[in-house]
């Protein structure tokens, strides 16, 4: 028996070793590459023509991506391999460890070829420091110039100008591709259960609420529990990046910038730390009162991932603070799970702040940047730029939206949306069934976000965004601009301490968790404690940038 067991164990070990070996090695030599087919080049006129795969030297690029396990095995990857002789090696990151891995990789000179980075202007000190130390390869104008779509962004983007170090750019910002009228405003707002608001009789026309109406609505939701959730019934839930400040501060204080907890703002020509203003303190006190009253979900404090979104989608919460862009998938999930009957049961609410203004923050003109590792070869960099440029052409946009011509769509006109979609249509949810639903294509993200208007998507999400944008156009929103000059300013104290945003967020959370404290006094004490460290940063900013 023992011998048999030993034999079985040994066999299992051998099998597991075999199972752990890579299925196939990316082809490095031209001889190993599959014969390149020649799909129609739908590039716009005047752009650098993309050479066909068979004419190009094979290239393998490593890049960190979210959802790495969903990459590399679908038709779009094969298409890229054939058209550009380009294979990707996907290095996994998650939302939780993304910046942590970037910091570790760059600090230890162990980064992938393409370092995709969730860089914000407010935390760009590190980027400048690393660029000066030679961690990244420069993206010179000569390199970009042959690629029309990229060059256009290179010449006009504010962030490209802001991130140059001694005249050279060291990271490529992924264009947000927002319509110009929204001025790169971060359209984050409360998404609410409109049907619940109606059920408690406090729904306001156009889903617009004054601050008092908003609180009354929340109180009614908590008291009447229209969702029948019992003890789990929640008013507001916030994502981890927006807790606790998202509840009130973003809506009220002229302080948060680019959805950071707080940064520095210029008042009367001088920089101040907004956390030290009376408006910010009033927002902290209001957040405290709402939390103690139970209008903000008590266990939100423990969230570490997507629990806020999940609670809303599960029908346990009335309002979730988040960015636009998730509504189609949220409402589809909620309908499928029987949480809502129709998509219109969920809608964005316009909530005017305590002073009657509806504050929105401007953000960077990009979402993530991609830096090239300092030891990348010219061939690799050139291939990446070629691929990114292609992704911004009509055919490239269709590749991201839909997939491959002849397989996923047929062309019916010149514009990207002029297509006939070949996917199966689901009458029940009113959506196309994408064959790529379990696949990811994040190697495309450095090229910029795919523009809105994907014909395969239902218009619900765009309609909702349009409501918000229309109100902005009516002048109802007060836009807090992004100050690139301040964000990218370098000085010994600012480089060391940054914006103290984490400190402000931490203390706000501590105050919230203490049911017996005086929030105003606690906040005053915090400001008094912090100012000796904040003031040297302000002095640097005012010496360097004041009017």
């Amino acid at each position: 028996m023992k011998k048999l067991l030993t034999l079985v164990l040994a066999l299992l070990m051998v099998l597991s070793l075999v199972a752990c070996s890579p299925a196939q090695t990316p082809a490095e030599s031209p001889a190993e590459e599959p014969a390149a087919e020649t799909p129609a080049d739908g590039g716009d006129s005047g752009e650098a023509p993309a050479a066909e795969g068979s004419d190009l030297e094979p290239v393998v690029l490593s890049q960190n991506v979210l959802d790495a396990e969903k990459h590399g095995n679908h038709a779009r990857n094969e298409f890229v391999k054939e058209k550009f002789n380009l294979t990707y090696e996907y290095i996994p990151v998650s939302w939780g460890d993304w910046n942590e891995k970037i910091r570790t990789w760059v600090s230890t000179d162990d980064a992938p070829d393409l370092i995709n980075w969730d860089l914000k202007a407010a935390s760009s000190t590190e980027y400048f420091d690393w660029a000066k130390q030679g961690a990244f390869a420069p993206i010179t104008e000569e390199k970009v110039a042959p690629y029309e779509k990229l060059y256009e962004f290179y010449q006009t983007s504010e962030s490209v100008a802001a991130y140059k170090v001694d005249g050279e750019l060291y990271c490529w910002p992924a264009n947000r591709n927002n319509p110009p009228e929204i001025d790169n405003v971060y359209t984050s707002y409360y998404v609410i259960r409109k049907d619940w608001a109606e059920a408690v009789g406090l729904y306001q026309e156009d889903n617009e609420y004054t601050w008092e109406e908003w609180k009354e609505l929340l109180r009614a939701i908590i008291a009447q529990d229209p969702g029948g959730n019992g003890v789990s019934n929640a008013g507001i839930v916030l994502p981890t990046w927006g807790f606790p400040n998202g509840a009130v501060t973003f809506l009220n204080a002229p302080a948060a910038e680019g959805n950071e907890t707080c940064s520095y703002i210029k008042v009367d020509g001088q920089y101040i730390w907004p956390a030290a203003t009376e408006e910010y303190k009033a927002a902290v006190v209001e957040t405290y009162n709402m939390y103690q009253e139970g209008l903000i979900y008590k266990d939100n404090i423990s969230f570490t991932g997507t629990e806020a979104d999940d609670m809303f989608k599960a029908g346990l919460a009335f309002a979730a603070y988040n960015v636009a862009g998730s509504m189609n998938s949220w409402t589809t999930d909620m309908m499928r799970d029987g949480i809502i009957e129709k998509r219109e049961d969920v809608a964005p609410a316009v909530v005017y702040g305590m002073d009657g203004n509806w504050y929105m923050t401007q953000t960077e003109d990009y979402w993530t940047v991609t830096a090239f590792n300092h030891n990348i070869t010219d061939v690799k960099m050139d291939r990446a730029l070629m691929f990114w440029n292609y992704l911004n052409t009509t055919e490239g946009i269709r590749l991201r939206w839909l997939g491959i011509e002849g397989v996923d769509y047929e062309v019916t006109g010149e514009n990207p949306e002029d297509v006939e979609i070949l996917w199966e249509f689901d009458e029940e949810t009113g959506t196309y069934i994408s064959p790529y639903v379990n696949d990811a294509f994040n190697e495309a993200s450095p090229a910029g976000l795919a523009p809105t208007g994907n014909p395969a998507e239902i218009s619900f999400q765009y309609d909702l965004q349009q409501i918000v944008w229309d109100k902005m156009a009516e002048g109802k929103a007060t836009i807090k601009p992004l100050d690139y000059e301040m964000s990218t300013f370098s000085g010994p104290n600012k480089d060391r301490y940054g914006t103290f945003g984490s400190d402000a967020k931490e203390r706000m959370t501590q105050i919230l968790a203490d049911p017996n404290c005086d929030p105003a006094a606690e906040w005053d004490a915090f400001i008094e404690e912090m100012m000796p460290r904040v003031q040297p940063v302000l002095d640097e900013l005012n010496a360097g940038l004041a009017d």
Binding site: E126, D129, K298, G498, S502, Q510
Partner: protein
């Protein structure tokens, strides 16, 4: 053998080599272990110099010396001293309450007569060790959170107690929460080594004690405990040597800003400084803090070893 080597009490080198050759296969088995320690424990010691340098991406050797700047900064950084204090207090609590628990549990399990029941108990107590702290944090949230079972049960007996329910983020309760959850998760696993030691005690001693009329408590006191005292001493020395390890995994998964005051330890402080604050990682500073921590650990290990030796017990050094 020369007179000199006999005087020194040493084996001649040639003989040593011959013995090593005779047992060459045994020594060969030692090689992977040695390689592990050399590669992962000794080679990285080169990086300690970062504690005294301003790290540059060009490499450790190219980074300039900085005249102990990191240590000076460490002592002036307002969060460092509270983190150090928390590390020591939490570790002290763990030793005071957590260290004896596996010993008591091992003795209790050993006193169970039915072997099958004993094995079931051991499995039940050991199982939580295999859950990660991520899972444990989820379980604790579900149990102790504002919509958790504990609140609901407490509400039944003390109506209104749940109005300001804040058990998970109460800074006064957080250290107790850490110690209790740590005992819950690790005590069963900790019994294994003591049960092994108890199994090594000569059974004739128990038989003789029975003949002499000892009851079960007397047998535990006079036979079992003295039988495992050396193991307890060794474990104690090792535990004291790790006093600056406050339990990163556990605290990282359980703590939030409201309990930083009592729960932030050096490891979580370094992590926050390196990966959460938006000012970027300062490898020199974090190395300095790590070095400081390890020097204290080493001093405490030597001290505990000395005290244990002075008390006549077996030691690790």
């Amino acid at each position: 053998m020369t007179a000199r080597s006999i005087k020194a009490g040493r084996r001649p080198f040639k003989k040593t080599l011959r013995v090593m050759w005779d047992y060459r296969w045994i020594y060969l088995m030692l090689l992977p272990c040695m390689a592990f320690f050399i590669i992962f424990k000794y080679v990285p010691l080169y990086g300690i110099q970062l504690a005294f340098k301003d790290y540059m991406i060009a490499g450790i050797a190219e980074s300039p010396w900085n005249n102990f700047e990191h240590f000076k900064y460490m002592m002036t950084e307002p969060e460092f001293i509270p983190a150090l204090r928390n590390t020591l207090i939490i570790s002290f609590y763990r030793i005071l309450f957590g260290f004896p628990f596996p010993i008591i549990l091992a003795i209790m399990i050993n006193e169970v007569y039915m072997p099958r029941y004993k094995r079931v108990l051991q499995t039940i107590y050991t199982f939580p060790h295999f859950l990660t702290w991520v899972v444990m944090a989820g379980i604790m949230l579900n149990l102790l959170g504002s919509t958790g079972m504990v609140r609901k049960v407490c509400e039944i007996f003390v109506p209104g107690i749940g109005d300001n329910w804040n058990l998970l983020y109460n800074k006064a309760a957080f250290r107790s929460l850490l110690v209790i959850s740590d005992i819950w998760k690790e005590a069963g696993w900790g019994t294994i080594i003591y049960l092994a030691a108890i199994a090594g005690i000569d059974q004739s001693l128990y038989e003789a004690a029975t003949i002499d009329g000892c009851n079960r408590f007397q047998k535990i006191w006079y036979i079992t405990l003295p039988g495992i005292i050396n193991m307890i001493a060794i474990q104690f020395v090792l535990r004291v040597g790790a006093v600056m390890e406050g339990g990163f995994d556990q605290i990282f998964n359980l703590y939030k800003p409201p309990v930083y005051e009592t729960g932030d330890i050096i490891d979580t402080y370094i992590y926050r400084l390196s990966f959460v604050e938006n000012t970027g990682v300062d490898m020199g500073f974090t190395t300095a803090v790590g070095l400081f921590k390890n020097v204290i650990n080493f001093i405490l290990l030597v001290l505990a070893n000395f005290v244990t030796k002075a008390l006549g017990q077996e030691t690790v050094l």
